[in-house]
């Protein structure tokens, strides 16, 4: 095997997902938190959960605009799906009403199912896209669905990649 990857972009090309997970762990424990960027809610469509897709200037040098916008748009779509009022939600509502809402002791609401999908999506995005760029997205549910909190970690440059390469080389073999 050739020498372990030294730069973040090279690391993202690694086939092993646990390599990028190592990046996430490293990020949390070794890198220092520089800043937190908050993406606020977009209320132009009413009270539905939707986040602004405006690209914050603090992330200008850290991530490509399209990647960021894709993440936010996908999250907005998930939330729209969770809050959609249609046949399925009516069925769920009527069934729940008939059982005096005791049915929710046994089954999950549709909203909760979508929230689980969202947290899996955020985890995946963190591992594949954000952690290699020194960023970390916090699930909005942990901030009361008010903001998407993006933690910006200090780019340690060569020191981070050298420590990273030692761990990847040990785990890669």
């Amino acid at each position: 095997m050739s020498s372990a990857p030294r730069t973040a972009t090279e690391r993202t090309k690694l086939p092993y997902c646990h390599e990028s997970f190592h990046n996430l762990q490293e990020l949390r424990h070794s890198a220092s938190l520089a800043n937190k960027v908050f993406i606020q809610r977009d209320y132009t469509d009413g009270t539905v959960c939707k986040f602004q897709t405006k690209f914050p200037s603090e992330l200008d040098s850290r991530i490509e605009r399209t990647l960021f916008e894709d993440t936010v748009k996908t999250l907005n779509n998930y939330y729209a799906e969770a809050e959609k009022i249609g046949g399925q939600s009516y069925l769920e509502g009527c069934l729940a009403c008939l059982t005096v809402y005791l049915i929710f002791l046994c089954i999950e609401t549709r909203y909760e199912k979508v929230l689980k999908k969202i947290s899996r999506y955020i985890q995946e995005q963190n591992e594949k896209v954000y952690a290699p760029r020194g960023l970390l997205i916090t699930d909005p549910i942990e901030r009361g669905m008010r903001v998407i909190e993006i933690s910006v970690y200090e780019d340690r440059g060569s020191s981070a990649s050298s420590s990273g390469s030692s761990t990847t080389s040990s785990s890669g073999r």
């Binding site: 937190k36 209320y43 132009t44 009413g46 009270t47 009403c97 909203y111 009361g144």
Partner: protein, 389 residues
């Protein structure tokens, strides 16, 4: 003199401190079953003025006296109905009467408990970083202000479906309230889609429990009318056989039931009608009282949240998706996460916090921090301070 005093006072202190160190250590440090400091659940450090039961599963307002009155009234009236009127009605008319009554009663109690015990849609307070970020945004918008000068009320305007809505800043929760949210002064929380604080239910009525509240008052009006009608029927049937006065003597409970139902019907049926109107126009009590979307405010004033259709509004309010609780009452407090700013603190503070704040002086009642006692100098100087007071 002071030396003697020091010695005389220090020895017993050291002893009782030694005892306190032992208990402090054994309870929190070295015993195998409590290896680390006790982790709290989030409801124990919740900043609002709410009461929690069943380890965070149940959430209610601080004043719950009227709620117990509601429960007692419903239980007593229904109990009397089932005990005294139903046997007669079941045998003389049809057993469907107690059956339907039973179903209604279960539905009423279920909805009441659900409305009272669930989280109405409380918005968690801002984390310190969020609050700082918002402050920065406001400062750049308003311009810097001198110390001691309170800036004008912070608002943000947003265009929702063509209608301009002002979002207000909540000084307690340090957030810009989402549209339709309001801060309940009784519970000291911002609640999403805040309708009103209901003392009868012992909780705020908001986004997450409005449908339970509505179904409660609707089914309670049906139950009240049901009981009233059939108690009257019972008394009439009995008085046909035995005369009016002896009928009343035979079932005295009926009198009580009729009185309770008669006075309740007006208020409960009226309230149900009012809330039916609110649901069909997709307004909250708060908005209706303030006249937010009334045409009297201006020609172009309309409700931007209404779906335009009566049926859709009703279905959205009653059968729409049930959002999850945002405050995660039963989750564990992570030691490294920043806690939101709390105005009323101290209720959930664990003893070690109190100890650290008392490190500069030693009070005999407090459990003393062992690390502060390592140097006798600190002990003697602290005790000297205590004596000199």
């Amino acid at each position: 003199m002071t030396g003697n005093m020091h010695l005389g006072v220090e020895e017993p202190i050291r002893e009782c401190q030694y005892n306190q160190i032992c208990t402090h250590n054994s309870s929190t440090m070295d015993t195998p079953h409590t290896k680390k400091k006790k982790i709290k659940r989030k409801w124990q450090v919740f900043p609002g003025r709410n009461k929690f039961y069943c380890n965070g599963r149940i959430m209610m307002a601080k004043q719950t006296g009227v709620f117990y009155l509601t429960v007692v009234l419903i239980l007593v009236t229904s109990g009397l109905f089932f005990a005294f009127d139903c046997p007669f009605l079941a045998s003389n008319l049809t057993p469907a009467i107690p059956a339907i009554g039973g179903v209604l009663f279960i539905f009423v109690m279920g909805m009441l408990l659900r409305a009272s015990f669930s989280d109405p849609g409380v918005l968690p307070r801002a984390t310190p970083e969020e609050a700082a970020d918002i402050e920065r945004q406001i400062d750049t918008a308003n311009g810097p202000s001198g110390p001691g000068y309170r800036p004008p009320p912070r608002t943000r305007e947003v265009l929702i479906n063509g209608q301009t809505v002002k979002l207000k800043y909540c000084f307690t929760c340090k957030i810009f309230r989402p549209p339709r949210a309001s801060h309940c002064s009784l519970c000291d929380n911002c609640v999403e889609r805040f309708d009103h604080h209901c003392p009868w239910v012992g909780n705020c009525v908001g986004r997450r429990n409005y449908r339970f509240f509505y179904l409660f008052i609707l089914s309670l009006s049906l139950l009240t009318i049901f009981i009233f009608a059939f108690v009257i029927t019972h008394v009439i049937l009995r008085s046909n056989r035995t005369g009016f006065l002896s009928a009343l003597k035979d079932s005295p409970a009926s009198v009580l039931e009729v009185v309770v139902c008669f006075f309740s019907i007006w208020s409960i049926v009226g309230l149900s009608g009012f809330h039916t109107y609110l649901i069909s126009s997709n307004q909250t009590t708060n908005e209706d009282i303030k006249g937010s979307w009334s045409s009297k405010r201006g020609k172009g004033n309309y409700n931007p949240y209404s779906y335009g259709n009566l049926i859709t509004n009703c279905c959205a309010a009653l059968c729409g998706p049930l959002p999850p609780s945002l405050i995660d009452r039963r989750g564990f407090v992570q030691p490294d996460t920043p806690q939101p700013v709390a105005q009323t603190n101290g209720t959930g503070a664990c003893p070690s916090n109190q100890v650290q704040s008392h490190m500069t002086y030693i009070d005999d009642e407090d459990c003393v921090n062992p690390s502060a006692l390592m140097s006798l100098d600190s002990v003697s100087s602290a005790k000297a301070k205590h004596i000199s007071r």
